[in-house]
Symmetry: C2
Subunit: 246 residues, 2 copies
């Protein structure tokens, strides 16, 4: 990164980061897709990932609150509508609950987030803080992991349906809706970033924002792997499948 | 916790939390003490723990900035003096650098914090945010892990000197100075908490603050264990002993 990149070069550099650091390559994700996990491990994943899901509209509201331009706000608010829905029985967050319901997790326990791994909370809250404290350009750039999610979701849904008899298309309804939303959202964010990252410093900040966000996702799977796969050291107070599922 | 506890009952409840959740019981710590780690793993520990150390005076300054009372500030500022010293060649942070120096880590690399595990940064920043956003009572209560550190440090120094030939008393100078400081500081914080946690809600908040802080320390060792002990999955971009030590 010694000089100013063209918008196309910047996009290529962002895609390189995704190829290297997006969590589609994480061992937990690979085992999830290939049938290598048991039900308790998938419960732990869905429970912890719920914490990420429930902070997404809060993160997007923080970004929205920093946008001076109404056109921009009209575009960005769609993310919040998608996640929260029109009423309590729809939207992305509700579809995530369909997954935790389908996995036999108590809804009140899930929604309390009391048994989520502390490391999950630390990573997710770092993301919320990032979009509050960094520039708007960096906040928008940190959403660019969505560029890589449709492909990852495709592999995940196919793998989970093929490999786990307790997984049905209904429990995976969240993932059915996401790819077109993610594509629309990330195309918009990518255009914004390519237009506004017009200095060397801003381009570097944009790349660092995507690296940061990849580390937020990666760290969540590291924590799950450590607690529930190998060596299986569940931290004090966190979800214990042997104790917390009736 | 159904009713108001006496100050002595509150102290006992705090000590119970430490017994159960303080990181002296973490597998990484136990292996560190007993000689079960290799030099590269201890390098990773010292490098990552440097990030915690370098945020401690920032955390204490945030607490100081919220104290309206000059007596209280005079008491609390001692922590910052201890950590930062009178000049660049002394103080707790400098003594931590003596440890990373002694382990053969490049000082510039350590001080950049570029190769620290993202999970370490997320946990430590969660602690800094906690003392900024919660009540002063909760911020002070979160420091009470220091009640348990003198005993843990004793076991650590004895174990490390006995079990690793690359560890000397000089490299462990940090730990020699800490126990009397920690005892003085935690006695003050404990008195403050016992006096001011005078409602059921405040007592519960104090207990939760200590639980939170224990999880900050525990999560750091979880991340180290996952990356450098078993299964040894180093996240993209983090310290790799095979690459980053000359």
């Amino acid at each position: 990164m010694t000089g100013l990149m063209s918008p196309e070069q910047l996009e290529a550099a962002l895609r390189d980061i995704g190829e290297e650091r997006y969590h589609h390559k994480h061992p937990f994700q690979l085992e999830l897709n290939s049938g290598g996990l048991n039900k308790a491990q998938i419960q732990a994943w869905a429970l912890n990932r719920y914490y990420y899901q429930c902070r997404i509209p809060i993160k997007d509201a923080a970004i929205l609150s920093r946008m001076e331009n109404a056109d921009l706000r009209r575009e960005w608010r769609q993310r919040i509508l998608d996640h929260d829905g029109i009423s309590d029985d729809e939207g992305g967050l509700r579809r995530w609950i369909a997954l935790t319901d389908g996995l036999g997790l108590d809804r009140e326990m899930v929604e309390s987030t009391d048994l989520v791994l502390p490391a999950t909370k630390f990573a997710v809250e770092a993301y919320v803080l990032f979009v509050r404290e960094r520039t708007l350009l960096e906040a928008i750039a940190s959403s660019l992991t969505e560029l890589f999610s449709p492909l990852a979701i495709g592999a995940r849904v196919q793998g989970m349906l093929a490999n786990y008899d307790f997984i049905t298309a209904e429990t995976l309804a969240y993932f059915e809706k996401r790819p077109p939303q993610a594509t629309r959202d990330s195309n918009f964010a990518l255009s914004y970033v390519k237009e506004h990252a017009n200095t060397v410093e801003r381009q570097q900040a944009v790349l660092n924002s995507l690296i940061f966000k990849c580390s937020v996702l990666w760290a969540q799977l590291d924590a799950l792997y450590h607690a529930y796969v190998a060596p299986g050291h569940i931290p004090p107070g966190a979800f214990d499948p042997a104790r917390d599922v009736s």
